[in-house]
């Protein structure tokens, strides 16, 4: 996996000790573990699903799995990395279930052509105006939530979480070329959305 900076302070031995306590059933230790990691888990769920309601359900599922499997964490990776992977697997599995239920959703194989890009006309006209003011991260989060599911998944995993196209392809069961196309689509849609 592409290295990415740890965003949660890892105090090594202290983390291992707390995890052992939590795995042994110490409720306070588990509560602390939740406080330390829930923000990252919720952020990933929220951006991948675009739904606060579904995200809270997924966070519960994540921490139930963490509870069940904590005794198997071997500290060869940071606890945050281990929890992140559990979250990712659950969110992607949820996305596949949603895809099956909502047949009108754009599939992961949808690589709608970027029409008009070469000439600078129509859909890309927005890109030729002055750079949008995207200082308000709330607008950006909202715009990300409005992306089609496939484009949103790739955008969040690549541009926010730092995964490579090859890693995203493995995680989502598609190919790197499709991921690249979805990423370009997401960026174009965000630019269009944010300059309205």
């Amino acid at each position: 996996m592409t290295a990415r900076p740890e965003l949660v302070q890892n105090d090594g031995e202290g983390e291992q000790a707390r995890a052992r306590l939590a795995a042994a059933g110490d409720a306070d230790a588990f509560a602390r573990l939740y406080r330390e990691h829930a923000g990252r888990v919720y952020a990933l769920c929220l951006r991948m699903t675009g739904s606060p309601g579904r995200s809270t359900e997924l966070v519960q599922d994540v921490f139930v799995r963490v509870w069940r499997r904590l005794s198997s964490w071997r500290a060869d990776a940071a606890l945050s990395t281990w929890i992140h992977r559990i979250t990712l697997n659950l969110v992607i599995s949820n996305a596949r279930d949603e895809q099956r239920r909502r047949t009108r959703e754009v599939s992961m194989n949808d690589t709608s052509p970027d029409t008009g890009a070469a000439s600078g006309e129509s859909g890309d006209t927005a890109l030729s105006v002055a750079p949008p003011t995207v200082e308000d991260s709330i607008d950006l989060e909202r715009a990300i939530a409005q992306l089609p599911a496939g484009a949103r998944t790739v955008f969040v995993l690549h541009d926010i979480e730092g995964y490579s196209h090859e890693e995203i392809a493995r995680l989502t069961g598609t190919v790197a070329g499709t991921c690249r196309a979805q990423l370009h689509r997401a960026r174009r849609l965000l630019m269009e959305n944010l300059t309205r």
């Binding site: 965003l7 059933g25 409720a27 588990f30 509560a31 939740y34 406080r35 829930a38 923000g39 990252r40 888990v41 919720y42 952020a43 929220l46 606060p52 995200s55 809270t56 966070v59 519960q60 599922d61 921490f63 139930v64 509870w67 069940r68 970027d114 890009a117 070469a118 000439s119 600078g120 890309d124 890109l127 030729s128 105006v129 002055a130 750079p131 949008p132 995207v134 200082e135 991260s137 950006l140 989060e141 541009d159 926010i160 690249r180 196309a181 990423l183 370009h184 960026r187 174009r188 965000l190 630019m191 944010l194 300059t195």
Partner: protein, 201 residues
């Protein structure tokens, strides 16, 4: 890459920003950007977007009441898994009862004398002794009525084992009886293992 006489397409621009173009393609884009104000504007827009994305917080505070929901979900999961284990214990005891009933019909006579060891015994004696020691040491940790349930189940299985052993004394070459005895020993091992797991939760 598509770089026609006019402008760079969005996909190429996106790949260029990510550093995914080969050196020749990247040089072509560079040269175009030097000459085209429209594409420079687009490139700036994309870089501004990506810079804003990079500033997004990696952590978002979940709703205040979510910890309560998580705790409830974990508690529910723990209770459900314990119930599942208890039902497995009951299932093992039920299987032993059925076997006991079959043995009652199969035995050729009863004896109250001690039963000599059978070849099957040695396969399980050590494991059962070790597990029994573990369970007895942790007996106080067994939840609720699990200890009494375990005792009743063990009594049923031990009776089935005793019946099978007595039947084998009378018919030592009966492979069906060997199979029944082995199966009941295995049930005893599984029951004791489940009790050991429960008592370590």
């Amino acid at each position: 890459m598509t770089t026609n006489l006019d402008h760079i397409d969005a996909e190429t621009m996106s790949a260029f920003v990510d550093g995914d173009l080969d050196p020749q393609a990247a040089a072509t884009v560079d040269a175009h950007l030097a000459a085209c104000g429209v594409c420079r504007g687009r490139m700036e827009s994309m870089r501004t977007l990506l810079a804003a994305v990079a500033r997004l917080p990696r952590s978002v505070a979940p709703p205040a009441g979510l910890w309560g929901d998580v705790r409830h979900a974990v508690d529910t999961d723990v209770r459900a898994r314990r119930r599942e284990r208890r039902w497995n214990v009951v299932g093992l005891a039920a299987a032993a009862l059925i076997t006991f009933g079959l043995l009652r019909g199969a035995s050729r006579g009863e004896t109250t004398a001690p039963v000599p060891p059978t070849a099957v015994d040695s396969n399980y004696t050590a494991a059962i002794a070790a597990l029994t020691g573990t369970v007895q040491a942790r007996r106080a940790s067994l939840p609720g009525t699990a200890a009494r349930t375990m005792d009743r189940s063990l009594a049923v299985i031990d009776t089935a084992i005793d019946e099978a052993r007595r039947a084998l004394v009378l018919d030592p070459d009966n492979q069906d009886l060997v199979g029944i005895l082995s199966a009941n020993y295995q049930r005893k091992v599984e029951l004791l293992q489940r009790a050991a797991d429960l008592s370590s939760d």
